[in-house]
Symmetry: C2
Subunit: 283 residues, 2 copies
């Protein structure tokens, strides 16, 4: 199996892929659309891209590209903790409290805002295009007294020392990744040690922008006791105020309840599309 | 008045600030949290940061920092079109179809994915930390046959020629920015030529993760005919599956309807917070 992911190497997406698919061949892509195109064309067997809370790509891009461009299905989900560490070149290990500059992706720096404010308030930072690129730079410049904010994998890949662990501001800092495939029923072999729960994701487009329409949609789920773990509105890209909804249901697609709700919504003029029914894995 | 914004210069946030506050002093900040901290401390009179669909910063970061760290109020909103152009150094104007590399922020490149695929399929691209930084690089390297994807302001700031306009894939490509202030009732003077509509944003935290709770929340709005233009769930950062909701209502905060809905929700065990009632401007 060949798994494509949003690269470059040692990103959080790459880390998630390694945890789930230790045996698979891996291929990094520069952008979310490029990775999804490759899954559609069969160049790879599975695309793994961030969907929510991502620090290295636009989340909206994944949903929008899925809806508007590449009709892939969600065949799996990975929720992974995002842990940021402070890394230096091994030769600089003893003097890390006196670093003169910190390199990283802007989102990683922002995620460690409070730590940096407390401990390195006067130390300037410089942005890199990814945490991996910043780690590479630090590894290649042992003569400079600099540090990088990146993950554990970047430390291993670029042989840097972690001098301060878990410097991100929020303990609960997770990213959701989705596995995408052209076939809704594709089976995915992941690391059998991971726990999972079933999930179904629907896209619901309302018939018109009228007051209370969303309330009506949710009624169809509520009276069936279908638990929605997430609901998110996204613009349809046809004009301001026109939204569709992405709804996550905490169960696998069944023959009665979800199809019943969908049929009712369609009778009310909504468009309903199953984006996937899959296992959600937690790392 | 001094307006802080998510920089660097010539970003889309900067462009929005210039359109709304032509007369104001401006100050760029490197991160969304830094900009919001400055508004809280009084270093600036107003912070302008992206909230939705942003290409140059995490949208989630703005909401999360607002909820968890800096209790600023939304005192205004700007919706601005995101138009991406292809820019080259003026001396390269005649040979732009033969460019050898394209520089930009990864999100800008992803937004022009279809155009690049069609017209420059074999041309490699290189990521920069912002569209502005990429434009600066192209302006300083006239000897290289390269182009940059950036906005009109970057073309002016770095004296580049726009050789192909509007190369973004979706015609409807907008970003919402919010104006943040410590005082909920702060009055904001924007360019009087801009049209606006009133809006109120609430944060609603559900009492527990139970089936149908969101449906109950929406009922309180639906039976009052309050039109919700957007609803979005966000994790509370205390654990998986615990979400709060950001709800946009298409009217100014009144004395009867919105407070009535809020009081009912609180009686049901929800936490309700007004994040702001403000004018939403469209550029």
């Amino acid at each position: 199996m060949k798994v494509g992911y949003l690269g470059p190497e040692a990103t959080f997406t790459h880390l998630a892929v390694c945890s789930c698919f230790a045996e698979a061949k891996q291929q990094a892509y520069n952008t979310i659309p490029a990775c999804m195109d490759a899954a559609m064309s069969g160049e790879i067997d599975l695309a793994v891209v961030p969907l929510e809370n991502a620090i290295e790509g636009s989340v909206n891009m994944t949903i929008d590209y899925l809806i508007h461009e590449q009709p892939l299905y969600i065949v799996g989900e990975i929720t992974a903790p995002i842990r940021q560490h402070l890394l230096v070149h091994p030769s600089r290990k003893e003097e890390w409290t006196n670093i003169e500059k910190i390199y990283s992706h802007s989102h990683a720096i922002a995620q460690c805002h409070k730590f940096l404010h407390r401990q390195f308030d006067s130390v300037p930072f410089e942005y890199a295009t990814s945490t991996g690129a910043a780690a590479k730079y630090v590894s290649e410049n042992p003569d400079k007294n600099i540090a990088v904010i990146a993950n554990e994998m970047a430390a291993k890949t670029y042989r840097l020392d972690i001098v301060k662990r878990d410097i991100h501001d929020y303990e609960y800092n997770h990213t959701r990744f989705v596995m995408l495939h052209p076939d809704q029923h594709a089976s995915v072999q992941v690391n059998p040690e991971l726990s999972s729960r079933p999930k179904t994701t629907l896209m619901v487009t309302l018939p018109s922008d009228r007051s209370g329409a969303l309330h009506q949609v949710l009624s169809a789920f509520a009276w069936r006791n279908l638990n929605l773990s997430k609901i998110e509105s996204r613009p349809t890209k046809t004009g301001l105020g026109n939204y569709f909804f992405i709804i996550d249901i905490e169960m696998a697609l069944d023959d009665v309840l979800i199809p019943g709700a969908a049929a009712e919504l369609e009778a009310l003029g909504c468009k309903v599309k199953v984006l996937g029914t899959y296992n959600a894995y937690v790392l």
